[in-house]
Amino acid sequence: MKILAIDTSNRPLSVAVLDGTTVLAAITVTVHQKHAEYLLPEIERLLAMADLQPTDLDRVVVAAGPGSYTGIRIAVTTAKTLAATLDIDLVAVSSLATLAANVPVEGALVAPMFDARNQNVFAGLYRIKQGVPTAEIADTHTDVTAFLTAVGEYGEPVWFLGDADHFRDLIGTTVSAATPAVSPWLNLPQVATIGLLGQKMTPVSDVDRFVPNYLRLTQAEAEWRAKNPEEDTGSYVEKI
């Protein structure tokens, strides 16, 4: 099975090409955040190095959010368009689980966090079970103290990843158990890992209707729904 895996959820851009369990090429870049410009050229380059044509691909695995709205849209648009136009499988993985997959310690608790500003985070708590990150606390957009308090209640060592350094002091006061020191490398998505995991996952059933997992309504929608709680929130888009 030939697999392309991509993640542009935040500043890092990560692309990998796999043939079954063999990683053919993988790259993670953090020097810029011009994903619109660089994602497709990197895919092109890695496939060429692996001596593969786009039409050789069997499956695309994408980190589908949460993260920067523009970032997750670029990865998801690229992935769903590739899957739709080549008629191949699309597998979606949480962008937080993608980071959690960096920890190869069976049974470990991993808390990947993305800074969402104003003391808010996108975060989840995962336990590594047979090498697969399994959600203990589902991905959420939340106040960071509330999240850390919930994590602290486990009373176990927790691997904090991603933007966790932004909240180091807070972690110290809310989580009493040990927090393993983390190499900066583990704070970056390495999509070869989700390329491997994604081979066993169930593909998205409706590629065309697939959208990123924003975990947040737009402000305009949230306000509108608060004012119109009765209104049907079905489809607002029509073909003309």
């Binding site: 011009k34 619109a36 410009e37 660089y38 497709l40 050229p41 895919i43 092109e44 786009p54 039409t55 709205y69 523009t70 849209r73 670029i74 998801v76 648009t77 690229t78 769903k80 368009t81 590739l82 739709a84 136009t85 080549l86 590629v207 065309d208 209707r209 959208v211 990123p212 924003y214 737009t218 402000q219 305009a220 929608e221 509108w224 119109n228 607002y236 888009v237 029509e238 073909k239 003309i240």
Partner: protein, 339 residues
């Protein structure tokens, strides 16, 4: 055959165009109903809708045209101007399709697309002049030859379509207000004599903010003294002022730039008052012939993008996989223009 994409604002559109002037399919998914909830386009909401629609539009466009990827010669896409997050969905999808099927990618300026909606009426003859009027733009574009565009005048503040939406809101008309204001205008009379801005200035620029303020002051004053004004007359007076400014400036531009065709294009080009006025003005012009973009191609659509992409293709204008959205893309100014 070209597969064309458009997603610069609140319409997701994909079309299959043959030889630059035959529409095999033109799928348009509009988000108007969604943005009506907010009284105008909300960029983040627009981006989210585009990603819901884009691959469905591709499939529908190919199915309706009865073609497959093997039949295509190129992929084209609007890369600006527009909302950056909205543009990015079309650009990303188009680049991906081009890459997946090893097809050349043609970057298209949205405004060139609007002008080339006129190509579905008749071939464009040069030199030509285009009056482009939409929700985001109001400009006069001189085209000395194929694939050459020079701005000779543009709005200094609001676009004409923006002004329509703003006065519409004052009169309680839901976004987009153009159609209703146009209808009312035809039922009323120009009784308010709103200012015609910059009509006499020696350039081809437009301004609608003075008109908008005069309109708001008039209705505000009436509200304060408890007087009810005729919406029809207000609309007629507003529209007459807009049309006068657009038509006068266009006439003056035509005097300086003698052209074979005057092209009327853009969303506001569907306005009946404007179409009728230019028809009248041009009927006595022996050398310049008016070409109005077809009504159903005045709004944003991918067919118009495919029409211009055919020209770009002939001129060898291609992009690679690094193509990015350029939200403030615009034509160059004419070298000898007043600016």
């Amino acid at each position: 055959m070209i597969l064309a994409f458009e997603s610069s604002c609140d319409e997701t559109s994909v079309a299959v165009i043959e030889d630059g002037h035959k529409i095999l399919s033109n799928i348009v998914a509009t988000q108007i109903k969604s943005h009506q909830r907010f009284g105008g386009v909300v960029p983040e909401v627009a981006s989210r809708h585009h990603i819901e629609e884009v691959t469905l539009c591709i499939k529908d466009a190919l199915a309706e045209a009865g073609v497959g990827y093997d039949d295509l010669d190129a992929v084209a896409v609007t890369y600006g101007p527009g909302l950056v997050g909205a543009l990015l969905i079309g650009v990303t999808a188009a680049k991906t399709v081009a890459f997946a099927h090893n097809l050349p990618l043609i970057p298209v300026n949205h405004m060139a697309g609007h002008i080339y909606a006129a190509r579905y009426v008749e071939p464009i003859e040069f030199p030509a002049l285009a009056l482009l009027v939409s929700g985001g733009h109001t400009e006069l574009v001189y085209m000395p030859a194929e694939n050459q565009f020079e701005i000779i005048g543009e709005t200094r503040d609001d676009a004409a379509g923006e002004a329509y939406d703003k006065v519409g809101r004052v009169m309680g008309v839901n976004y987009p207000a153009g159609k209703t204001v146009d209808e009312w205008a035809h039922q009323g009379k120009d009784t308010f004599n709103f200012p015609r801005a910059m009509e006499k200035d020696d350039n081809f620029d437009f301004s609608f903010s003075g008109l908008k303020s005069a309109f708001i002051n008039t209705t505000h004053h009436a509200d304060q003294i408890g007087e009810t004004l005729s919406k029809q007359d207000l609309a007629a007076s507003f529209q007459q002022a807009v049309v006068d400014v657009l038509a006068e400036k266009t006439q003056r531009a035509l005097a300086d730039y003698p052209v074979k065709q005057l092209i009327l294009a853009g969303g506001v080009a569907a306005n009946r008052g404007l179409r009728e006025r230019l028809e009248r003005d041009l009927s006595s012009n022996p050398t310049t012939h008016l070409v109005k973009a077809p009504l159903k191609l005045c709004g944003d659509n991918a067919a118009m993008i495919g029409a211009f992409a055919y020209v770009a293709f002939k001129h060898g204008v291609f992009a690679d996989a690094t193509l990015n959205a350029d939200p403030s893309l615009e034509f160059d100014w004419a070298a000898d223009s007043a600016k």
